[in-house]
Amino acid sequence: MFQFIIRRTVGAAVTLFLIGAVTFFLFVAAPSDYASLACGKDCSPTRLEEIRTALGLNLPLHTQFWDFMSGIVVGRDFPTGHCPAPCLGQSFYSGEFVWDTIMDRFPLTLSLTVGALIVFLFVGIGAGMLAAFKRGSMVDKVATGGSMVLSSFQIYFLGPIALTVLVYQTGWMEDPKYVPFTQDPLGWLVGLSIPMVVMATIFTAQYTRMARASMIEQLAEEHVRTARAKGMSQKYVFFRYAWRGSLIPIVTVLGIDISALLGGGVVTELTFSLQGIGRLAVNGAVTKDLPLTMGVMLFGAFFILILNILVDIAYAYIDPRVRLS
């Protein structure tokens, strides 16, 4: 287990380095003069040169890249001050350290994704298993049909509908806003409830379908049939034998979906005009702010890799065969 985590961590570090390299060199290869973009319309040659020096754009490319990557580990010194250890550079425009900006925005995206993740895992798997348990009943039909239709909805369509119904027309709830969890847990939950539920709804629908299919497959397995033949009750067989096995394919898909989860968070925050990491990525991309974009990319990739490792550990926990090998 320990060895496995070490191996995965090394792999993740290499992947992050490569992602950083690809982002950096693609950005630099694009024929855009970042200094003149940062300088604005009325720009004198001396001012341009100043900006170029300040941003470090006059240095050779490999030095620039190396400065950036090593800054993550040991920190960097800028004319404006020292940027401590996980340093993702300094924004071309605002001059803020990218790490600080991300840390400011990320809690929102994290709240959204993790909140939705918890909701859809419990509701989705619960509903799917219930549907499989009562296969062919009314419950099953409603769950199957409903999840089929709901999974065809989009966050950017369902979101405005929810806002129209709950906020604009009836005034039952307020506009979604972000309150830090540490400040006011209840305000955090109430403020983000609409985005979380909208995001979770679409994922729930997909996971209901999956959990149902996986459970039905498990119930047809030989060891489950044997347990039933021994005279064990339906409920006991269900929770003792079939339940755990049916989780394995779901966890596999969850591992693949991690990136979609972050993507879902991005769409959700854009839909509800919340200021998260997705808005940051859009701003960075549109204004061609290289350090900001690099920072967001690397951070996003880091988040996905960490969650992936967690999913793999959960996988080993659920499936004893994985633990043994």
């Binding site: 992947t15 490569l18 992602i19 982002t23 693609l26 950005f27 290869a29 694009a30 024929p31 855009s32 973009l37 089929m148 239709v149 999974s151 065809s152 909805f153 989009q154 950017y156 369509f157 979101g159 405005p160 509908i161 806002l163 129209t164 604009y168 027309q169 990136s259 979609a260 972050l262 993507g263 991005v266 769409v267 854009l270 839909t271 990491i277 997705g278 990525a281 859009v282 960075g284 991309a285 549109v286 061609k288 974009t293 967001v296 990319m297 996003g300 990739a301 988040f303 996905i304 890799l305 992936n308």
Partner: protein
């Protein structure tokens, strides 16, 4: 996924004689007096599936109306670019009130503006939706075909040659898969456009389309390649491939005549799942503001606009949204039907 080879019995394994299989479909299913190709069997099963047939009709309907968008808008007499609310030519038939909101019921539906008009500008929603669907569907079709072909080629090479080639292809695939795709789509759109046009200038729509194509292509082929690789890997060890090898067939011939016909069905199934998801990705790009921009009519851009107008004019999002939900729903159901038709064992 499905493993098509199992369903066909010993059909293609007797393909030693090159004259026997003229078309790309494997020859005959054994033990049947009337020979039916797997393709025919699939078609028969598909025809019996009522949901599948209805959904196929709906999907075809969408493609037809987006092909016929210019005709349909001629019928309604509107076009997606005219600002009916601001253009002085249309001053005698006002569509917007003094706050820039549509006059009349449900977003300003009327004889000329069938689905109503856009608040503020007064553009015709029917024309925008028809042309928007056209943009999205044809873009998605192009992207999907491109990334399917790429995935198939890479998967075939990796799966068939195995060994070191396969290992490195696998690592590259893993690497691409670890990209946070949505964030990358957002970040690379402006970069890729910058390769074609000066950032200070207005980007023409065609270059934007090309940039979308490139970004989605480069970050989208991995799923297909994995699927094809795993199918080919299981086929490679089969007797009919061994037999072809022994009889001296070249690798190219084995791939073309023995392996490709057997990967056709998983590819087709994957295609029906991939196309709607590509449409949604393109819509996402436009929604985030880095895909198509004003005034190009596009499905995703309508949602971005609708989210802005939701407070004042919620009716605006009804038609684009409902159309998208129905389309995605039907395409997903169609995908399930196609899968069931190819592999009856997968069952529901």
């Amino acid at each position: 996924m499905t493993s098509p080879a199992k369903a066909e019995g010993s059909g293609p394994s007797i393909a030693l004689d090159p004259e026997l299989d003229k078309n790309t479909e494997p020859a005959e299913v054994a033990k049947k007096l009337e020979g039916r190709s797997p393709g025919q069997l699939m078609w028969q099963r598909f025809k019996r599936d009522r949901t599948g047939v209805i959904c196929a009709c709906v999907v075809i309907f969408y493609f037809v109306i987006s092909l016929a968008a210019p005709l349909l808008t001629k019928l309604s007499g509107t076009n997606p670019y005219t600002l009916y609310g601001q253009d002085p030519t249309y001053a005698d038939t006002p569509v917007l009130d003094e706050f820039g909101l549509p006059l009349g019921y449900f977003g300003g539906m009327s004889g000329t503006h069938w689905f109503g008009v856009e608040p503020q500008y007064g553009r015709d929603l029917f024309a925008m939706l028809m042309y928007g669907m056209r943009t999205s569907l044809f873009m998605a079709l192009g992207v999907t075909i491109l990334l399917m072909v790429t995935g198939i080629v890479i998967g075939l090479v990796g799966g068939y040659f195995g060994g070191r080639t396969d290992y490195w292809i696998g690592r590259v695939t893993d690497f691409f898969l670890s990209f946070p795709s949505q964030l990358f789509f957002i970040a690379f759109m402006p970069v890729v456009t910058a390769f074609f046009v000066d950032p200070q200038e207005e980007t023409p729509t065609y270059f934007r389309a090309l940039a979308i194509l490139i970004v989605l292509w480069v970050l989208g082929w991995m799923g297909m390649s994995r699927l094809v690789r795993s199918t080919v890997l299981s086929l490679r060890e089969r007797e009919f491939v061994e037999a072809a090898k022994v009889s001296g067939a070249s690798p190219w011939r084995i791939i073309r005549k023995e392996i490709l016909p057997n990967v056709v069905s998983p590819i087709l199934v994957q295609f029906t799942y991939q196309l709607p998801s590509t449409i949604l990705t393109i819509a996402f790009l436009s929604f985030a503001g880095v895909g198509f921009v004003e005034p190009t009519p596009d499905w995703g851009r309508l949602f971005a606009a609708a989210a802005g107008y939701a407070k004042q004019d919620p009716a605006f999002m009804f038609f684009p949204g409902t159309a998208l939900v129905i389309f995605v729903l039907c395409f997903n159901l169609l995908g399930d039907s196609v899968r069931d038709a190819f592999d009856p064992k997968s069952g529901r």
